[in-house]
Symmetry: C2
Subunit: 132 residues, 2 copies
Amino acid sequence: MSIAEQIHEANGRFMEGIRTADAAVMPTLYTEDAQILPPNGELVNGPEAIAAFWQSFFELGIKDARPVTLEVIPMGVLAVEVGTYSLHGEDGSLLDRGKIMVVWKQEGGVWKMHRDMWNSSVPLTEPNAESV
Amino acid sequence: MSIAEQIHEANGRFMEGIRTADAAVMPTLYTEDAQILPPNGELVNGPEAIAAFWQSFFELGIKDARPVTLEVIPMGVLAVEVGTYSLHGEDGSLLDRGKIMVVWKQEGGVWKMHRDMWNSSVPLTEPNAESV
């Protein structure tokens, strides 16, 4: 199976974790020393913080996340995935859409997310002038 | 010079491009087939669109961008940089701060940005409910 196919499979497990709102399974999709770089939040470090991050994500009412891979750049035991995503609510309604960039790393023979970043492609309605 | 040092130098040229608001120099810091993945906007492809993107960025009143490298993951002719940034206005005022993830690629012996993504760490003041 190619790296792209293995990443596709791993994304399937990620989507299943979101659909079942299973915060406990989410850190198993990431390397031991993974980081999430979420929009409008601080860097998230390590398994416990990753589980808590996704728990708070589920509490926003997000029921479904659909990543679409545009490109996989293989680099030995690492690979960079560039793609798009959409987030959906209860009735399949579109909550957000944007872009992803993920560094994948093979750990114990399994491809896991090592650095996970995304941002929205939706224009801001207002300048975000919260105290920076 | 290590890859991290070369990326540090390239970031110096990037910062100079921002400070001098030189849209024409910006594409020279990117590979021929580079992509920018900006927050709250669509994917930006190729030199002309990259120059136009930075021109519109300058028109927002951003006078200074300060990337800080936290990590460089070398992968042969490619490297992934993870870090933070701050954006500053006329009087040095803080306009935004956030995180960066950049895929660097050596092109003609020079490290250039190949995939350039960032997002703000500042919480949204309001749910961003513009038509998605």
